[in-house]
């Protein structure tokens, strides 16, 4: 097992290097020279040249890349030219919001998707199954910006049950924090559960046709016990993959959801950095997020091994 973890960790190194390369070069490809953006109306050629020199922008791109990487290895991700905040400060301030949002969305998504999948699989082809597969497809096609506005209109404007926008830190007031988080998490979860349900449902249907299930039935075990105890764990491998990959989609989703619900998370930070050409923040945050995503997938790999012993012994 240790060997397995160590090997997987080694795989991370080239991936992270590729991520850092991509991040840096894509950010440099954004139109609008940073020096012009900073100088604005004072962008005389001399001032631009001086500032470019100050910021090292006149150096070849690969020298800038290695300089950036070298600083990062020493823990220095740089500082925003607009706010004076360091990347790490900005990320530590914003990360808890996005993290909580993603966790809640994932929990809500699973809470809706898993029971529905089990029920549908148990009676696959039945009326409820067909109805749910249809609705899942419909929900999958509903974009977050639309469901967010509909949820706000219904729950905040009409019913007045929940706030439309805003945020309170969990540490300050857990109850209020959750009230503010319900609609954003639900918005993201609405796009998550259909995938979860469909994948788990089809895996489950396959599992239910295995011999050992027939044996369990023959032994006279209760249907619910067969479904939850015997069939769920072997059917959840793909579900784990989906849940892992979903983290990536959720990071994308937070950009929209945080903007609509005015949550002070990473997504808003990124959008702001793009608009204001705050490249230092942009590169640093994208790199950290990407590294987080890669790590997440690493954990998913480990989970496989826990779920299916064949994988950790290299037979799968």
């Amino acid at each position: 097992m240790l060997f397995f973890v160590a090997r997987r960790l080694l795989y991370l190194i080239p991936v992270l290097i590729a991520v850092s390369l991509l991040t840096f070069f894509i950010a440099s490809l954004l139109p609008g020279d940073l020096a012009y953006v900073i100088l604005g109306d004072q962008a005389t050629p001399e001032k631009v040249a001086a500032l470019r020199h100050d910021m090292g922008l006149d150096q070849p791109i690969w020298i800038r890349y290695f300089g950036w990487l070298w600083n990062i290895l020493q823990g220095d991700f740089g500082r925003s030219f607009r706010t004076g905040q360091t990347v790490l400060q900005a990320v530590t301030e914003r990360f808890p919001v996005s993290f909580e949002l993603m966790i809640l969305a994932e929990i809500v998504g699973l809470a809706i998707g898993v029971p529905l999948a089990i029920v549908c699989a148990a009676r696959s082809g039945g009326a409820f199954d067909r109805f749910m597969t249809g609705s899942a497809f419909a929900m999958l096609s509903l974009p977050a910006f639309l469901s967010a506005i509909l949820l706000i209109y219904f729950f905040a404007v009409e019913l007045r049950w929940l706030p439309a926008t805003g945020y309170v830190p969990f540490a300050e007031d857990p109850g209020a924090n959750l009230r503010f988080m319900v609609l954003p998490a639900l918005t993201l979860a609405l796009a998550e559960w259909p995938g979860i349900m469909r994948v788990l449902r089809s895996d489950m249907i396959a599992t239910l046709q295995e011999d050992y299930i027939a044996l369990a039935k023959a032994k006279g075990l209760k249907a619910s016990r067969i479904l939850f105890v015997h069939a769920l764990k072997p059917s959840s491998l793909t579900l784990v993959t989906i849940t892992g990959i979903n983290i990536g989609r959720l990071i994308g989703g937070t950009v929209i959801v945080e903007t609509i619900f005015a949550l002070p998370g990473i997504g808003r930070l990124l959008v702001g950095a793009i608009y204001t050409r705050d490249l230092i923040i942009l590169q640093g945050v994208v790199l950290l997020v990407a590294a987080g995503f890669v790590l997440m997938n690493f954990i998913v790999d480990l989970l496989y091994a826990v779920l299916d012993p064949r994988i950790r012994h290299g037979h799968a």
Partner: protein, 513 residues
């Protein structure tokens, strides 16, 4: 999410001066003290240290109006009124302005406000070693002197007849910050601003909320009324409006591109729509050095082909007010004849035909739904007249450098609401200015602009500015589509909001009924 070209970003270009807020004598006995309001702004505020952020956008200015004071305020008739300065005088040539300061005022950290503190603010921004982006806007000020504790003297490079009005906007140049605070806090000062204003910064969570509490020692006794103001960035227009409906916000920023919600609020008795018909306009500049715009006939044809009424209907449900000159209804410059070209598509067709060659060109638009919308409408108008416009979508941050480097054929721009037309008109049209985007030079135009900035006689200035408008309209080097209108929507219980000068929602002297 962002306007085609809106004050928030491009305003900086012109933010040479501006407007402020009136400490107007509001009707007696109506005001009630106490309570708290939440303000929904559009953008995240990056901070307040001029050396860091350079210039404030309108969201930062809304906060600055509560935390800081300016020397001069502006009443609801756009007349300068005392704030931190009690009175002012000028030299005969309007190049030296002397302000007598209010005594006994203290910053929130206890530092006394005096001429020395004021001069320290100015010198810090002017010092070339500090490389402040804010320095551009005070380039016309040679220096500030502090001859005694309560006297400040401005020495200008050029005459400015309406100078106090220019000091009224709550910009990074005009608000007075505590020198002790920025010296002791260093890098942290940006997010921990200290002023003399009616509200003190209590807490600020990046991207979320800024909590301001009443300054109990405010120099203007009896003010402010509210105990607390919470400022929140609510970037999405739909959820911003929903927050007002559901009561999370008491007043929100808005603009005419959100026409549906504005019109809905106008019919709702629980809401009040605050509008201010400001000066200035949404404008477009032709690069007259590149064909086909080196031909005046082509330029005129394109301007005549625009049907502003129809365009307003298409993009803002008819809310946007057509503009025929760069000054607008909110300006004191009123022209009997501004020389606007007629909206006449037949004449436009004839002019294009006279040109003899195909009229093909590219226009810069911002890569936003609004920018595209405007571009597509103009494209249709010009197609009818026989000209072929290709839309080039770039983002807002790119338009500025492209404009400065003159890498465009036709670009959007903006003339923002300022108390005096001089700073922007001179910058936009005088030969040699970095934002004279049309690349057009005309001694007659230069002469008119110079006269208008040095003449103390307002009637004479109006005449000059109207002549400027006639000349520009005739030469069609720039054109104007819509006047600036600024919007805020509030719960109807919120009272006392002054005019939204320069798009700044100043809630610092409001109260709840």
């Amino acid at each position: 999410m962002k306007a085609a070209i809106r004050s928030s970003t491009l305003a900086r270009i012109f933010l040479v001066a501006g407007f402020g807020v009136a400490l107007s004598a509001a009707p007696a006995s109506a005001q009630k003290s106490g309570g708290s309001i939440t303000v929904g702004l559009e953008l995240d505020i990056p901070g307040f240290d001029p050396l860091k952020v350079g210039v404030f956008d309108t969201s930062a200015e809304t906060a600055a109006a509560a935390i800081f004071d300016t020397l001069v305020g502006l009443d609801d008739n756009a007349k300068p009124v005392p704030k931190l300065a009690l009175s002012w005088t000028h030299s005969d040539d309007f190049k030296t302005w002397t302000f007598k300061l209010r005594q006994g005022v203290k910053f929130h950290d206890g530092t006394p406000f005096n001429a020395e503190a004021f001069k320290a603010n100015f010198d810090r921004q002017k010092d070339p070693a500090n490389k402040c982006r804010c320095a551009f806007y005070i380039a016309g000020i040679k220096d500030v002197q502090a001859p005694d504790e309560y006297t400040v003297v401005y020495n200008l490079t050029d005459p400015s007849v309406n100078f106090p009005a220019i000091l009224t906007i709550q910009s990074s140049n005009n608000v007075v910050q505590s020198p002790t605070a920025w010296k002791t806090k260093g890098d942290d000062y940006n997010r921990n601003p200290v002023g003399t204003g009616p509200y003190i910064l209590k807490s600020w969570t990046a991207g979320d909320r800024m909590v301001l509490e009443k300054n109990p020692d405010y120099w203007n006794k009896g003010h402010p009324y509210l105990d607390r103001i919470v400022l929140k960035p609510l970037p999405d227009a739909q959820s911003r409006f929903a927050s007002l409906q559901s009561g999370e916000a008491d007043i929100v920023w808005d603009d005419e591109y959100d026409a549906d919600n504005i019109q809905k609020a106008q019919k709702d008795p629980k809401m009040k729509v605050h509008t201010y018909a400001g000066s200035g306009a949404a404008v477009y500049a032709f690069n007259t050095k590149t064909p086909p715009f080196d031909d005046v006939g082509v330029r005129q044809a394109l301007v005549m082909a625009i049907d502003r009424k129809k365009m307003s209907q298409a993009i803002t449900n008819g809310l946007a007010r057509p503009a025929t000159n760069p000054y607008g209804d909110g300006s004191w410059v009123k022209c009997k004849d501004d020389g606007a070209l007629p909206e006449d598509v037949e004449k436009a067709k004839a002019l294009i035909k006279d040109y003899g060659k195909p009229v093909d060109f590219k226009m810069l638009v911002t890569a936003t739904p609004r920018g595209r919308n405007v571009g597509q409408v103009l494209q249709q108008f010009w197609k009818r007249a026989g000209a072929n416009m290709e839309i080039e979508q770039v983002d807002q941050a790119t338009i500025v450098p492209r404009a400065f480097m003159r890498q465009f054929q036709l670009t959007p721009w903006r003339i923002v609401d300022l108390a005096d037309p001089d700073p922007q008109m001179y910058a936009n049209f005088h030969t040699g200015s970095p934002v004279a985007l049309a690349n057009y030079s005309n001694p007659e135009l230069d002469k008119l602009l110079e006269n208008a900035r040095t003449s103390p006689d307002q009637a004479k200035r109006i005449e000059d500015y109207c002549a400027v408008s006639r000349l520009i309209n005739k030469e069609a080097i720039w054109f104007w589509t819509f006047q600036n209108t600024y919007y805020a929507i509030s719960a109807s219980k919120l009272k006392g909001l002054p005019k939204i000068y320069h798009g700044v929602i100043d809630v610092s002297d409001t109260w709840l009924e």
